[in-house]
Symmetry: D2
Subunit: 187 residues, 4 copies
C-alpha cells in the first residue's frame, strides 16, 4: 500500500482524466467500497526461471522511519489489471525495468487490506483495499523513482529474514513470504 | 453481473449499514473506480472431485428476454471475499445449498467487465467491475431465490453448448468455459 | 513420502494387478525415472472455507523415532491423479473422512523430492519423486489407519510452529508452510 | 507427446547417463508406472503480458500425415521440472528462443495422457504420461529443430480454430484451449 492515490496536481492545466478523484471524493469512495489494488513482487530469475533475488523498495515515512515495501498501487477506472501492474512497476522501478507481466490474470493470492486490524493479516488504516498479487520478473535496469530512497536486491533467504520483514508494514511481509512459497523459495 | 447493487429498502427502520449506498452515491462511485465483484460457478462433483453438473440461473430481463447467469455480486465495504462468495451463493441458491467455499483466495481467473465493449471479452454497461472467479461445489439442496425463475443443472458438455452460451450475457459464457477448462471438463 | 510403494503380499492368491511391481522391478524403476506422487494436506474449514485446523499423521520409524507426516503416496499406472488422491486419503484417514477432492487438477505447488539432498528443498533418499500437492478439506470422521499412531488436528499456527515442523521429514514441513501460504493462513 | 524418449545412440562411446534407458527397459517402465512429462505452450506477449501469438510445431508422421504439436517431453531422472522445460524448449525452438520459464512450479493444469482412450480427454497409445503444462513466453529467435518442419505463429483465435485443432493429436488441442482460457484469450 505504497501509492498516494494519484492526487491531482492543482497546477496542471489539462483536464483531470477519468479515474482521478478530488480529495473529497477520495474520502467518500474510501468509506463506501473496497478499492482494487495490485501488488507486485519484483524478482530476478535465472535461465530456468528460478528466483535468485527479490527487489524491495526502501522508503522513509514523514516521521523519518525507514520501511521496505513491495510495488503496490491502485487500479484506476477503465484500466486493465495488467496495465495497472505495468504502470506501477514503471512508476516505482523506472522506465527500463523490462518487467515480464504475467500472461495470466490469475494472481498467486489476493491480499485483503482492512482498515480494522485483525480481520485479515493485512492492514491499511486508510481504506479497505483488495489487492491482486503477482510475482513479476524484471530483466532490465531498475532505478527507484519518486518517493523511494533505494531499491535493494536481496536473496529470497535475506528477503524473508526477521530484520527485513520487521521493516515491512501492513502485512506486506506476509505477502512476500507467500510469494516465496509460491515460487518454491521459502527457506 | 446479476446483482442489483443491494439497493436499500426505503421503508426499513434500521440505519443503513456501511457498504450500502444511496442511488446518487452509487452513480458517483461507479464512475470513479472499478468495483470489486465475485463470480461463482456452482457445480456438483463426484467422490473424486470430478465435475458432473453445472448450475445455471435462469432469469428474465424486464423486457421478458430469458437469460442464463452465474452467481455473481459485489464485495461490500469491510467484507471478506470469501464471505461475499458465501453471501451471494446463499442469496441465489438458498440457505441450504451447502457450498464448499475454496480454502484458498486464489481465483481461477479475474474477469474484467468494462463499460466499453471490446476492451476485454467481458462487458457491463453500468460500470467497470473486476470479478474474482471461483468454482464452488455445492452438496445441498439448491432453490433459486428472488429474481431467478429456475436453477438448471447441466452437464459440462451441455453447459458450454452453443444454445446455452447464447443465453448468457456480458461474457459470462466465456467465464463458464474458462471454469470448465480449469476443472478439465472443456469438451 | 510416507507410503511403502504398495509392496505386494506374497501370500495373496490373486494375480498382481497392473501397477504393482516386484521388489526387483521397483529398484529398477526407481533408478530410472522420476516417480509421480501426490501430497495432500488435510484440513478442517469453516462455512466460509477458512482453514481452522490441519491434520497431521503421527508415525514411528522402525528405530522408534516419532515423526509427523502429510498424506502422501504414489500414483499408480493407469490411475488418475484425483483417484490416487482419494485412495491415499482413505488409506491414511479411513473410509469415512469425506474428503473434498479439488475439482481442478491444478496443484498449489509441485514438490520435487530428490535422492540427493540440496538440489531442491525436498528429499527422499529412496528415489526421485515428483509430487502434486493439494489442500483437501475433510468433513467426516478421520481415524488413523495402518502404520499411523495418531492423527492430530492442529491450528495453522500450531502446525507451522518450530517444534511441529521439527518432527517432519524430507521437506514436508516446507510443503505444509507452502500450503498455509496458499490458503492465507501462514502466521 | 512429441519426444522420442531420448533413445541412446548405440555408437557413442561415452557411458549412458542416468535417465537414459535401453529400449527393453523403456518398455518395462512404460508398462509399470506413469511417466512424468512437461507440456509448454510457447507464446509471444506484448508489454502488458497479453498473449498476441501462439507457436505451434509442424511435424510429419512416418506415414506423411501433417500434425501440429506443442513443445512436450519427458522429465528425466534427477532433472528438475524447470530444467526439463528449458531443455525441451531449446530442443524444439532452438538455443536462442530466450524462453521465460515460469518462476512458480504451479502448472496451469495437469494433462493425464492414458494409453486407453476415453479415461481422460488426453491419449498416448504408448504409455501413461502425466504432464505438467505451462505457458511460456519466448522473446528470442525461434527455429524449428530436429524432426519439426516448421514453427508457425498464430493468433490465439487462429490457434484454436477448428482446422488447426483438427491437426493436433492426443488431446493437445484441448490443452491449447485450456492454455488460452488460462491467459484470458479463449475466443
Amino acid at each position: 500500500m505504497t501509492d498516494t492515490f494519484e492526487l491531482p496536481d492543482p497546477d496542471r492545466e489539462t483536464p483531470r482524466p477519468s479515474g482521478w478523484l478530488s480529495p473529497h471524493e477520495i474520502a467518500r469512495v474510501r468509506a463506501a467500497v473496497p478499492l482494487l489494488y495490485v501488488d507486485a513482487v519484483p524478482v530476478r530469475v535465472d535461465d530456468s526461471g528460478d528466483v535468485v533475488a527479490v527487489g524491495l523498495l526502501l522508503r522513509a515515512t514523514p516521521e523519518g522511519v525507514m520501511s521496505r515495501a513491495l510495488v503496490s498501487g491502485r487500479v484506476m477506472y477503465h484500466e486493465r489489471v495488467r496495465d495497472a501492474l505495468l504502470r506501477h512497476i514503471e512508476k516505482d522501478l523506472g522506465p527500463v525495468a523490462l518487467p515480464q507481466i504475467p500472461s495470466s490474470p490469475q494472481p498467486f493470492t489476493v491480499a485483503e487490506y482492512f482498515p480494522t486490524p485483525g480481520v485479515t493479516p493485512y492492514h491499511d488504516p486508510r481504506q479497505h483495499a483488495v489487492s491482486l498479487a503477482y510475482v513479476v520478473p524484471v530483466s532490465g535496469d531498475c532505478r527507484p523513482q519518486q518517493d523511494s530512497l533505494d531499491l535493494a536486491w536481496l536473496t529470497p533467504e535475506e528477503a524473508v529474514s526477521r530484520p527485513v520483514l520487521g521493516e515491512m508494514n501492513g502485512g506486506q511481509g506476509l505477502l512476500l513470504r507467500q510469494a516465496m512459497a509460491y515460487v518454491g523459495r521459502l527457506p
